[in-house]
């Protein structure tokens, strides 16, 4: 408890400092160090030390559409728990990740199954987000080199645009990632993922910026696959708290099965 509070304090301090120093830096060219931090921040925007949130995910595919309300807990990148609250017939379905192990709870049959990592399909819960997006442990800044491809005004807003290219042997599938970040509040506006031939594969768009859990975050994320533009997934945060009191013991099989 004590340690967490301390780091929380430190964190807030650092954040404040960062924000103030950034104001100073706004007029001066972006330092490589700071650019790295910005990109890292975007990458870890919704992953804090610990977090809890309520989200709605609306998925539209060629063959079906559905909307899920979920409650999400996370601790670092090793632990996460996702519980579905609506629709009613799926309420209680939950996924627990602890270290390398993943379990699924199915309320309809009241059973828990262990899912070996090799069986994890590409998409997360049938959406256009991948497991990589949400539970990957490695950091974008470790796998990619970046450069600032644009700095200036886009549609009346001052932004940076970064171009990320994978480091020579990084085990990542993208050939290139482009990001746009607003200067004023360091919020990302969009991320575009490309294959190696420069073809756009998918676009992630951010909106609904507001303060949640003491942080400014985009409450809404939209993913559109380039080859099927009529399909998309929208993830909306209704509640989000960071650095809550949460430890590893929370991520247990018992909690997985809890209905609440």
């Amino acid at each position: 408890m004590h340690g967490i509070r301390r780091s929380w304090t430190v964190r807030t301090l650092v954040t404040q400092l960062l924000n103030t120093s950034l104001l100073v830096l706004l007029s001066s060219p972006l330092q490589a160090q700071t650019a790295r931090e910005i990109i890292d921040r975007v990458d870890r925007l919704l992953r804090g030390e610990s977090s809890r949130g309520r989200i709605t995910m609306a998925i539209t595919t060629e063959h079906w559409s559905r909307s899920l309300d979920m409650e999400v807990w996370s601790l670092g990148v090793e632990h996460s728990l996702v519980r579905v609250q609506s629709p009613a017939r799926e309420a209680g379905t939950a996924t627990l990740k602890a270290g390398q192990e993943v379990w699924n709870y199915l309320p309809r049959v009241d059973r828990t199954i262990k899912v070996p990592p090799s069986l994890m399909m590409g998409s997360w819960m049938g959406s256009h987000f991948t497991n990589d997006d949400l539970v990957k442990e490695s950091r974008i800044v470790d796998d990619y080199d970046f450069e600032i491809s644009f700095e200036g005004e886009r549609e009346g807003v001052e932004v940076w645009e970064f171009q990320l290219t994978p480091r020579p042997e990084a085990p990542v599938v993208w050939g290139r990632i482009d990001e746009q970040v607003r200067k004023a509040d360091l919020m990302p506006t969009w991320i575009r993922y490309y294959d190696e031939d420069g073809g756009l594969v998918r676009t992630m768009t951010f909106s609904g910026y507001r303060t949640m859990g003491d942080r400014l975050v985009p409450a809404s994320m939209l993913v559109i696959p380039a080859d099927k533009p009529e399909e998309h997934t929208v993830l909306t945060y209704h509640e989000l708290d960071f650095d809550i009191s949460l430890d590893e013991s929370f991520f247990s099989l018992r909690n997985l099965r809890a209905r609440r």
Partner: protein, 420 residues
């Protein structure tokens, strides 16, 4: 004149009877040569059909029907007739109304997870109609323990290797999880009622069989939605033609389907069959050749040995052509008798063998070749061509082979032949 012609036949006949031993020897050569030639084609065809059927009768079927765009990705949403599906009973009876079709069965496929206790395995879920499926494939009969499925009771069958990996035994509860057609994760509890051993690792390790309606329900699909109809036909080798005909019959803009033969679906099996066919062809040629040669040789020698006889006849005043005629007629009579005899011995053997194929399972255990489970049964198939070709070939051979020396003999002046 008629009287005269008939007379030559009588001479021929009497010639044959005079040398019963020689006639018998020659005739038996012809008859058994015929038996060998027809048998070899029968056994060869038998091996081929056995290979095809073992490849198709287990699970593939000889012909399959899918929605036009279903293959090769097998997207679960692309059921026959789209989202509305099609009336199953009507569709199946339309297919079975075709003469060449022996039986048809519907199927649904899904991909998902099976979980038993601590173990989870990825599986290919196959929904089958417990009544119709056995008419088309032998899959449901490859049980090594337990029993077949009963629809509507949430029952499941898995292969022995899958059962082992799951650590599951008969009666155990298996959690089946599968993405369903509305995007949600279908899940339900099933009871393991039977374990399969097909001998094919790809099946025993990965497949799980459920009753069609149970899988449809799990995947949130109505009873009108199926992915595949498997069909068995009368003559497996004829499948491509039958598939084409069925495709035309079923073609309908409202219900775009694709009808495939096993040769399209399993080209490597088709290649193996073709290779086998080709290699047998060589043996068949060799055997036919040897049989024909044997007959020719016998006739040649026989006729050569009769030089003196011909010389005497000529000396007595018969025109050379008369000798030629005698020999030809003899050949014809001999040919006809021998081939009738040949057919008489061949036919019962073929029928008997065809109906009670020799099971070599005690000698060789079953195994799989190109994914086909081959039970070592030696059988014989009827062929329309072989008996006719063999008969004609041997018949002609015997006549031609006798004629040559007869012709030569007539060229030598009788005195010289007699002096020999």
């Amino acid at each position: 004149m008629a009287h005269e012609r008939l007379w030559w036949w009588r001479v021929a006949w009497r010639n044959l009877w005079r040398n019963r031993l020689r006639t018998l020897i020659t005739a038996s050569g012809l008859a058994f040569g015929y038996l060998g030639a027809v048998l070899v084609v029968g056994v060869s065809d038998g091996m081929l059909v056995e290979l095809i059927e073992n490849g198709t009768r287990l699970m593939l079927g000889e012909v399959q029907v899918h929605s036009e765009d279903y293959l090769p990705e097998r997207n679960m949403h692309l059921t026959i007739g789209g989202y509305e599906g099609t009336d199953l009973e009507i569709f199946i009876s339309r297919i079975t109304s075709q003469e060449d079709v022996s039986a048809a069965a519907p199927r649904v496929y899904g991909g998902g997870l099976l979980s038993s206790g601590e173990e989870t395995q990825a599986a290919l879920l196959m929904g089958v109609d417990p009544d119709r499926e056995p008419r088309v494939t032998t899959l449901l009969s490859r049980l090594v323990s337990g029993r077949t499925l009963v629809a509507g009771a949430n029952e499941i069958l898995v292969g022995d290797e899958m059962a082992e990996r799951l650590g599951a035994v008969l009666g155990d509860e298996i959690v089946v999880v599968s993405p369903s057609s509305d995007g949600s994760l279908g899940n339900d509890l099933f009871t393991l009622v039977g374990i399969l051993d097909t001998g094919i690792p790809a099946i025993d390790q990965n497949y799980a069989l459920l009753a069609l309606p149970d899988l449809q329900f799990l995947m949130a699909m109505g009873p009108a939605r199926i992915h595949e109809v498997v069909i068995t036909v009368g003559n497996a080798k004829d499948s491509p033609r039958i598939a084409g005909a069925l495709g035309e019959f079923l073609s309908d803009s409202e219900l775009p389907v694709q009808v495939s033969s096993w040769t399209d679906l399993r080209p490597e099996l088709a290649e193996m069959v073709s290779l086998m066919d080709a290699s047998h062809f060589i043996i068949v040629i060799v055997i036919f050749g040897m049989a024909a040669f044997g007959v020719a040789n016998t006739m040649l020698i026989g006729t050569f040995e009769r030089r003196r006889e011909f010389a005497v006849i000529r000396a007595l005043g018969t025109a050379p052509i008369g000798i030629g005629r005698t020999v030809v007629y003899e050949g014809v009579i001999l040919g006809v008798i021998s081939l009738i005899a040949g057919a008489l011995i061949t036919w019962p053997i073929l029928v008997w063998w065809h109906n009670s194929p020799i099971d070599l399972t005690t000698v060789i255990s079953g195994f799989s070749v190109a994914g086909a489970q081959w039970r070592p049964v030696l059988r014989v198939e009827y062929s329309v061509q072989a008996p006719i070709v063999a008969a004609l070939g041997l018949f002609l051979t015997s006549i031609l082979a006798a004629m040559y020396p007869a012709w030569k003999a007539t060229r030598v002046p009788p005195a010289d032949a007699l002096a020999d």
